[in-house]
Symmetry: C2
Subunit: 307 residues, 2 copies
């Protein structure tokens, strides 16, 4: 699905947020973990199957509140191939529930290797006479340090499959300025990366005005975000850093254009682990996640009106 489709979902649910699905075993409610360990052993498989049960429950609880989910590959890779299998299942299940799926993979590599990643995450892999979808997300996050030629295979895969991507531009972590804020003449590195999204996406603007190459812009640097929003009017923003990392609703408002379009704000732990704060045993994790997602939506809507 394209950013047009994402913007439609955001408008329909009046909610410009995405729920991260990044579970570590210790963040899964004890009853789910226990049942999985009883069936599969206290193993990587046991942990992976617990993640699967948890993810399904979260998706069921959230699918009429949030427009999108964002599984983070690292937490699945941490459980080996069994974790990656669960990531495949999770993406397919979320798409069945009509959610937009951002695979947070932050990949980036040269020519034919970039093509292999694009096949894996957005396109299809040819085997003999047939082509097979693999992880089959709607959208991926990418790292463009190696240059725009390393992103182009993903751009082509997006064009072929009506999908989209986010390039890391200005990230939310404390050390993001080390490289990203270097000043070359009158150009900042992260602005050059931002301009790369405009160059890569040019000509693919949809009916909301956004092209297929979005940007990751952290909520923790609101003035940089404000400037990037002005500079890149056709670039859709993925905004991490709200909540646990310190970004507020007031901060993230600058990611949106005057129509309240063009951005989606991520929260992972605050939704996924909401059950840890209810003082109960975790059997209420679905209600807790849903309540946290609704609270986040309402918090952001205090500052952002979506036309």
């Amino acid at each position: 699905m394209s950013f047009d489709a994402l913007q439609e979902k955001i408008r329909a649910k009046k909610n410009p947020t995405v729920a991260g699905l990044d579970p570590k075993p210790e963040q899964i409610p004890p009853h789910i973990l226990k049942a999985s360990y009883e069936t599969y052993g206290e193993t990587l498989q046991g942990a992976a199957e617990a993640v699967w049960t948890f993810n399904q429950g979260l998706i069921d609880a959230l699918c009429d509140v949030v427009p999108a989910v964002k599984p983070q590959a690292a937490y699945y890779e941490r459980l080996g191939w069994r974790g990656l299998e669960v990531m495949e299942r999770t993406i397919a299940y979320a798409r069945e529930k009509d959610l937009f799926v951002i695979a947070d993979i932050k990949r980036g590599d040269i020519g034919s290797t970039a093509q292999a990643y694009a096949d894996a995450w957005l396109g299809e892999t040819r085997v003999g006479e047939a082509s097979h979808p693999v992880f089959n997300a709607d959208c991926v996050t990418l790292n463009g340090y190696m240059g725009s030629d390393t992103i182009e295979p993903f751009v082509e895969a997006c064009k072929a499959g009506d999908k989209c991507l986010f390039l890391l531009v200005k990230t939310s972590n404390p050390g993001s300025g080390e490289l990203q804020n270097m000043v070359a003449g009158d150009r900042l590195v992260y602005k050059v990366m931002g301009d790369m999204t405009a160059k890569l996406g040019k000509g693919t603007e949809g009916r909301y005005g956004f092209h297929l190459a979005g940007a990751v812009v952290g909520a923790t640097y609101p003035s940089d975000m404000r400037e990037l929003r002005r500079r890149l009017e056709h670039t859709f923003f993925l905004v991490p850093g709200y909540g646990a990392q310190g970004g507020t609703a007031e901060d993230v408002q600058y990611a949106f254009n005057k129509y309240g379009h063009g951005a989606i704000v991520n929260a992972s732990r605050s939704i996924m682990c909401a059950w840890q704060k209810t003082g109960r045993d975790g059997t209420d994790y679905q209600e807790a996640a849903r309540a946290a997602a609704v609270a986040m939506r309402d918090d952001i809507r205090k500052y952002v009106t979506i036309v």
Copy 2:
């Protein structure tokens, strides 16, 4: 294994090269592919099992010639979880054969996510009371665009497991200069990234003088490589771009120090696909790969003497 262990292996085999294991189905000899498709179907599984057979054969043929192998994650992800399972098997098999294994993953992410990747590729994943190695490589490639705080969890994993890493510094692709060659005052972006390796690795130098944080430095920009070698005397280099991409043995000599230490040169297709140039049916792929690896070793040794 650390860069000390890698340097020992390079000295023992008098060969500073690493064989990439990046097979696409169409690069696998037809008899292997046919047998696998007959057993598992013309499916992602069929392709993955063919990769496994091919990789074992390559490792058997190369393990007394090359000190290291470098599986590239993209080609395994392209086959889904079944591909990743084969990547796990491949890493384990290569380590059994006493090869140094570089997992070419180019990951990079914030705090706890970087930790999850470090668990997956270098360390262990805790499940309940026990910890489990997962992909368990000796070394990984990483992308530091997000800042050195995003690399630190990998540094800690290296210290804990006596392992090492390569940070992308100056890559071999045509567009690498777009970001990497930006000049900020008197600092080039890729030199700042190079200096990051020195900062991250400081204090971990082994008996050959190299710390745990290496650098990827492409053979296609030999003058940049020469300068980086002078600037970063304690940084081990991984050198892509030899052969197919145009880098020559004459070019790569500048990656080594005066003892012929501190670098390893990669070749993937020229070794893996050597069978496609013998005019036979692919049943000679092991001899062909071995001959290509020996030729590459001898080519580089014309310019590099390893003390």
